[in-house]
């Protein structure tokens, strides 16, 4: 199946009752409408992709370069631009410059991947950031309950020395990074209001930008469900 996607904005979470009374936690996403601002082909760009843009902004808040780029597609300046890689030029032919993409573009998907930016947690310790266990609460532990413990030594060919191993997990900035949630169930597509309901949580705060795209890979059970569509 051709890869496809759409940009959206996280609205918030609520609940959704199925007719049999099953209660599903859902995230409401304002998905689209998006504009195709560039179609990349192997001949011109070395790879096939489609660039889509979402969310109008005032021209005076944009830049000349961005305004010009969006104008080529016949659109006003847009806030967010994202690229979706396509498998081949043949897939890219399905898109034309200036084409409008609505939530209908993903209406036949039963599962989607959602890419967003997680909430920033600031400078976080190792227990929160890397799920370390910390030290004992008692047994004589003093002022070291949430410390990482020994960070080891590394640097010589004997496996120990004066330096710390590269990539050692330590305290530091946490969150505010790109997070992808894979294969979320699509609960409902409301094309008239450009709304998309997916099961479960998606990364980031409300009003955050999200990229919703066809799933990269699915479990066998979900492949069967998708094929039954």
């Amino acid at each position: 199946m051709a890869r496809t996607g759409i940009l959206g904005k996280k609205i918030g979470m609520t609940r959704f009752f199925k007719p049999d009374g099953t209660n599903i936690p859902v995230t409401v996403i304002q998905a689209g409408p998006c504009v195709v601002t560039q179609v990349k082909t192997t001949a011109a760009d070395g790879y096939a992709a489609v660039q889509i843009a979402f969310d109008d902004m005032k021209a005076r808040n944009s830049t000349q370069a961005q305004i010009g780029h969006d104008a080529k597609a016949g659109a006003g300046p847009k806030r967010a631009h994202r690229e979706i890689r396509l498998a081949s030029d043949a897939e890219a032919e399905a898109y034309t410059l200036g084409q409008e993409l609505t939530v209908d573009a993903i209406a036949d998907l039963k599962f989607v991947d959602v890419v967003g930016t997680s909430k920033g947690k600031g400078f976080a310790g190792v227990m929160k950031r890397h799920r370390f266990k910390g030290m004992c609460a008692t047994h004589g532990t003093e002022r070291k309950h949430r410390t990482p413990g020994s960070i080891g030594s590394h640097g010589t060919d004997r496996g120990h020395g004066a330096k710390i191993k590269k990539g050692k997990r330590m305290a530091g900035r946490m969150g505010d990074e790109q997070v992808t949630v894979r294969s979320l169930d699509v609960v409902k597509v409301d094309a008239s209001n450009n709304l998309l309901l997916v099961k479960g949580a998606v990364p980031g705060a409300n009003d955050g930008l999200l990229l919703i795209k066809s799933p990269g890979r699915l479990y066998k059970r979900k492949v069967r469900i998708q094929a039954g569509a």
Binding site: G12, R15, F17, D190
Partner: protein, 129 residues
């Protein structure tokens, strides 16, 4: 559009009509008619008990009902707007001075009873004694 309004519009068709849900108060004895689905058969079970907690707004609205079965306390929490909620009706009104009647859990025997409210029975259906 405002985020809250969008979410309200999403759940609007799931909300029950206001007239389908009576004016519930803490301490009421209520009959909850809840649909039970067994295979492809559907039947309605009535759970009668004291309403001890009422939480949530909009589609999240829930009530906790407590009753005594075989001398053992049983509490069930029902989402008011679930499609499985067939009907809820007030059988008896009682005086309650708390918003949550969790203290009933620690009571036994006669102390479990709440004082009947004599007033305000007129507008509760099925309680016109």
């Amino acid at each position: 559009m405002d985020r809250t309004k969008i979410i309200e519009s999403v759940v609007a068709d799931q909300l029950k009509d206001k007239k389908d849900i009576p004016n519930l108060r803490i301490g009421d004895t209520v009959d909850v008619h809840y649909k039970i689905i067994e295979g492809d058969k559907e039947r309605i079970q009535v759970f009668q008990g004291v309403l001890i907690a009422h939480t949530g707004r909009g589609v999240h609205e829930m009530v906790t009902v407590r009753r005594i079965v075989a001398n053992e306390g049983v509490e069930r929490t029902f989402p008011l707007h679930s499609p499985r909620m067939a009907k809820i009706e007030v059988v008896r009104r009682s005086d309650a001075r708390r918003a949550k009647l969790y203290y009933l859990r620690d009571r036994f025997g006669k102390a479990r009873r709440l004082r009947d409210q004599r007033r305000g029975l007129k507008h509760t259906e099925g309680a016109a004694e």
